[in-house]
Symmetry: none
Amino acid sequence: MVSLNKDDAYLGRLRDYYAENRRIPSMQRIAELMRFASKTASRKLMERLAAAGFVRRAPDEDAWIPTGRFFERPLAEGGVRAGRPEAVDGVGVGVFLIDDYLVRHPSRTVMIPVRGDSMLDAGIRDGDIAAVERAAEARPGDFVVAVVDGEFTLKELAVEEGRNVLKPRNAAYPVIRPAGRLEIFGVMVGLVRRLQR
Amino acid sequence: MVSLNKDDAYLGRLRDYYAENRRIPSMQRIAELMRFASKTASRKLMERLAAAGFVRRAPDEDAWIPTGRFFERPLAEGGVRAGRPEAVDGVGVGVFLIDDYLVRHPSRTVMIPVRGDSMLDAGIRDGDIAAVERAAEARPGDFVVAVVDGEFTLKELAVEEGRNVLKPRNAAYPVIRPAGRLEIFGVMVGLVRRLQR
DNA sequence: TTGACAAGTGTTCGTTCGGACACTACCATG
DNA sequence: CATGGTAGTGTCCGAACGAACACTTGTCAA
């Protein structure tokens, strides 16, 4: 019953389809995709996948919805040395949910694109997307998104003579010493970067 | 031309539906959702949204797919105060799956933790997790995961006198010139970093 | 060896779907 | 005032859809 030996090939195709079309296809299209001759096979496949927790039924009607495990990615764990690639990519030793890994409090988390290179030395580059958790307070050393002159800016929070200041991580930029109270929007908790290709 | 004055209320409801069901509903259900009496209204709405770049048609069949702008979210929620930029074209979590953003070919993509700082100057740090798409071939300039001495290593692929070499992005590390054929495991397509807090 | 279960086939049925078309209500603007 | 474009209505049709059911094939353990 838990032998997804063949089903995970199906699951892979379903995942690829979803990545491209952002929807679970119809029974007929699943049949085409998997080279089934019959829709019933699709139906049973989906029921198996549902039982395994990859999809569920839509609350309001006939439609399948991907759930948590559908977005799990194989994770090659730290000790992959000595492994031949075939060994490694079959034994994708763990699973990894990018969203869960990055976002711990979904309702308080916002993704904000980073512009500029003022944090370059911290490995944060123009075009990266920062996961920011809303919080009025932060500790020195945190990377915070603050409102300065009506604009968002991402900097490291630091304390200078008892006052909060914003330190860039790039020698080409000056430390920002806000006149009044520093308005903090949130604290950066993660980073996502897509490489062009 | 694109007077989304009323349509963005519709768009909001569509986003909510998508957040819950991870799919664009059928014409009929859109009509229910928007309290239209006729499917044609739904159809025209979707055409307007498509023209404005929020959705597009599925390549293979009649279905609507959310695109980039669909996931744009103003940062408004939670009452950010004065003078902030109107909207940041980031995305609120809930509608947006980071996974979707990063992984284009799920069945070929593996997450691999990065160890060491040999790519530091490219903004890739120890502990980061790389999204790697399996591919035997790569182009010069790509960041590739290659198998060197039975270990995975992440470097930039370059060509030197007609031979593939692996260039670190850190002056402290030497260029790797493989003896035989360079065995490429895959190409890096994305990066995820969690900040400790 | 067999037998039980799971994967897959083939077909039928009523429902929902998208697309099309003619039409109406409502604004803006000249 | 009229006029033209846009949002929305009502209705029809053929195609695609999901569900159901009886059936076949393959596999693995008792």
